[in-house]
């Protein structure tokens, strides 16, 4: 099976290229990247074939593509891939605007290609086990969830993460979707109300996007949940950040710390102190699902609607932060 990566702009492309090469029967044909200097550098760094134009990669007779561009360029690449008839795994968030996200659906439907939103946290053993715990009723009726997805500012990996035109926003655009998606999936429910405080509290002199964010959302089943999407971890933190969910129920409490499995590393290189993880790689399990769905000619287990619903929460958060009041979300899609 021949797979290509459209754009190497997203940091996760680095992990995905290694992951794809580890899946038996998958041939990673190469990647396209239209900024020449960067393309050459990534090609050398990862020993990959580089296509300076997306069209040239799409002409290689592929079976599927990953879209790893900046958020606001997802639509353009998805349209090209859809017209080429290829199944797509697209980085999160699905796009920078709801309008563009809806255009992604049209492009995929019109060309009859499956679309998968990259939500790797659905494939972590810890989140899968938590879902069983919740749905099995062990915690009783759930009061609420304390959700944390705070991190360092990712701009030193890729500056566009803090560029509003390319990312569509800052920390809120970057991080809300993971927990929004996990909440929807854990509870089989939709987010029906969003309150948010968003501001640029951490890097006011350096970037022009929101870097601090706290949300309180309500789900259609009455569960309340907080989401901390802030870029509040210092750049000298022991790791990029955290994904945590504390689920508080009438009969019990579950504390999810998805990256809890780590050794404490003190090294002269890179960070003086860091947490080196030894948990299973959920990104790899996500890639295997994408490849499996192509092989078995079935829809992937995470689709367009999941990416879209998560982006609706982000859009509502920006609206709430501007109005200083909660924003209701009707059921849509």
């Amino acid at each position: 099976m021949r797979i290509g990566i459209l754009s190497f702009a997203h940091l996760h492309a680095e992990g995905f290229q290694a992951g794809l090469r580890g899946i038996p029967g998958v041939e990673l044909v190469g990647f396209s990247h239209e900024v020449g200097e960067e393309g050459r550098r990534f090609a050398a760094q990862f020993d990959l074939r580089w296509f300076p134009r997306h069209r040239d990669l799409l002409a290689e007779g592929l079976d599927g593509v990953l879209v790893c561009s900046e958020n606001s360029r997802h639509l353009e690449l998805v349209q090209m891939a859809a017209e080429a008839g290829l199944p797509i795994l697209c980085e999160k968030p699905i796009e920078a605007t709801l309008e563009a996200a809806r255009a992604i659906r049209s492009a995929c439907e019109n060309n009859g290609v499956p679309f998968m939103t990259a939500f790797p946290m659905r494939f972590a053993p810890s989140t899968i086990a938590l879902r069983k715990t919740i749905q099995g009723g062990q915690l009783g009726k759930i009061y609420g969830v304390n959700g944390v997805n705070h991190s360092e500012m990712p701009d030193h990996h890729r500056p566009w993460f803090a560029d509003k035109a390319l990312a569509g926003g800052g920390a809120a655009m970057d991080h809300i979707v993971h927990l929004a998606d996990l909440l929807r999936w854990q509870f089989d429910a939709e987010v029906v109300e969003v309150y948010a405080e968003l501001d640029n509290l951490f890097y006011p002199q350096q970037v022009d996007v929101d870097t601090a964010g706290l949300l309180l959302v309500k789900l259609s089943n009455g569960v309340q949940a907080s989401i901390d999407c802030s870029w509040s971890r210092p750049k000298w933190y022991a790791r990029w950040g955290h994904l945590k969910m504390e689920v508080v129920g009438e009969r019990g409490l579950s504390v999810l710390d998805s990256f809890a499995q780590h050794v404490h590393l003190y090294s002269r290189s890179s960070r003086p102190y860091s947490w080196a993880g030894f948990a299973p790689d959920s990104g790899q399990a996500m890639l295997e699902e994408f490849i499996g769905s192509i092989r078995e000619k079935r829809p992937p287990c995470v689709g367009w609607n999941d990416g879209y619903q998560a982006l609706r929460v982000v859009a509502a958060a920006y609206e709430s932060a501007a109005s200083h009041q909660p924003v209701a979300l009707g059921i849509e899609g």
């Binding site: 009061y143 405080e197 509290l201 870097t211 802030s230 509040s232 009041q325 909660p326």
Partner: protein, 327 residues
């Protein structure tokens, strides 16, 4: 100075032990629950008074550890008698009551200390000192947690904590600690949004509150009577432009003891255990006593206690209306 204790419940016991670490003379205790007061008086080897007026005549300082709804009457009586006052938090059930209490003490020329004990917990004090020294730059996002099991009294006890009309409920009684702490770190609050879910049966409840401070920082405050029996978790996570402070009660203390069996009796309200030597309840009483004797200002004023109450009541209003509340 001579000290009299009003109230003989859990906090009365804790405060009595705190007074024992000072040079003050604990004279006696008065409580409406005579049997409970008798037990405490016996334990402490002090007198049990039959009435509040009798106690007020015999002391210089009154330490009020009665349920919240009874704070106002006790404070006003002590002020009328010209006695200095320590009063458990929350100061009162309404801002108006709190204002009257403060005014009465000012008019009577007596000191009023509200026992906002969180400010005397060493990890919370240290964190504030580090922030004051500029170790983490300007404040950004603060995360504060305080979730316990529902208050659980011995058989036949009066579970007034769970009676919203008498305690203000969990948001006022428990979360006020972190509202005060957030305000101590980041100053006045501009906006409050809160949500609370309740158990279908019993007193279980869980709340999450977002504060936006006038100076810019934001806070997520989590509070609840929602955990299984015996659990009480607290944590702080305070991030700024130049750094971060993290602490959680999940981390091990200086001594952990594991035994084969655990007997079932215990206090009705869970109180977090700090280090072994620095009991924050004793520290707050030492501080209040020292400030009264030396005529020095309190580190936490009655007005601070009142402002924390104002935030808590705004959170309740937000929970009731579903809207953000501007202060």
């Amino acid at each position: 100075m001579r000290v009299g204790l009003v109230g003989s419940g859990v906090m009365g016991e804790v405060h009595a032990a705190g007074w024992r670490t000072t040079a003050a003379e604990l004279v006696g205790v008065y409580s409406q629950n005579a049997a409970q007061a008798e037990r405490l008086a016996e334990e402490q080897g002090v007198k049990r008074f039959d009435g509040l007026e009798a106690l007020l005549k015999a002391v210089d300082i009154v330490d009020i550890c009665v349920p919240t709804y009874a704070h106002k009457a006790a404070v006003l009586a002590a002020a009328r008698a010209g006695k200095h006052i320590l009063c458990e938090k929350p100061i009162a059930l309404s801002v108006k009551d709190g204002e009257e209490m403060i005014a009465a003490c000012n008019a009577a020329g007596v000191r009023l200390f509200i026992a906002m004990v969180l400010r005397f917990f060493p990890q919370y004090r240290l964190s504030r000192q580090l922030i004051e020294k500029g170790q983490i730059g300007s404040l950004g996002v603060m995360r504060l947690k305080r979730v316990s099991a529902p208050p659980n009294w011995a058989e036949g006890g009066d579970n007034w904590y769970t009676d919203e009309a008498r305690s203000g409920g969990m948001v006022v009684d428990l979360m006020i600690h972190d509202f005060d702490y957030a305000r101590w770190l980041a100053g006045g609050v501009e906006r409050v949004f809160a949500r609370l879910n309740r158990a279908e049966e019993g007193h279980g409840q869980y709340a999450q509150v977002i504060l936006r401070h006038k100076s810019g920082p934001m806070a997520l405050i989590e509070g609840g009577w929602a955990y299984p029996k015996g659990m009480f978790r607290t944590s702080l996570d305070i991030s700024g432009t130049d750094g971060l402070i993290e602490w959680s009660s999940d981390s091990a203390g200086p001594l952990q003891t594991f035994t084969l069996s655990r007997d079932g009796n215990g206090a009705g309200v869970n109180i977090p255990v700090a280090g072994l030597s620095e009991d924050p309840y004793a520290l707050e009483i030492q501080h209040a006593y020292g400030a009264i004797v030396g005529n020095q200002p309190f580190e936490v004023t009655a007005e601070d206690g009142l402002e924390a109450l104002r935030i808590a009541l705004a959170a309740k209003q937000s929970i009731a209306t579903g809207k953000a509340v501007s202060l």
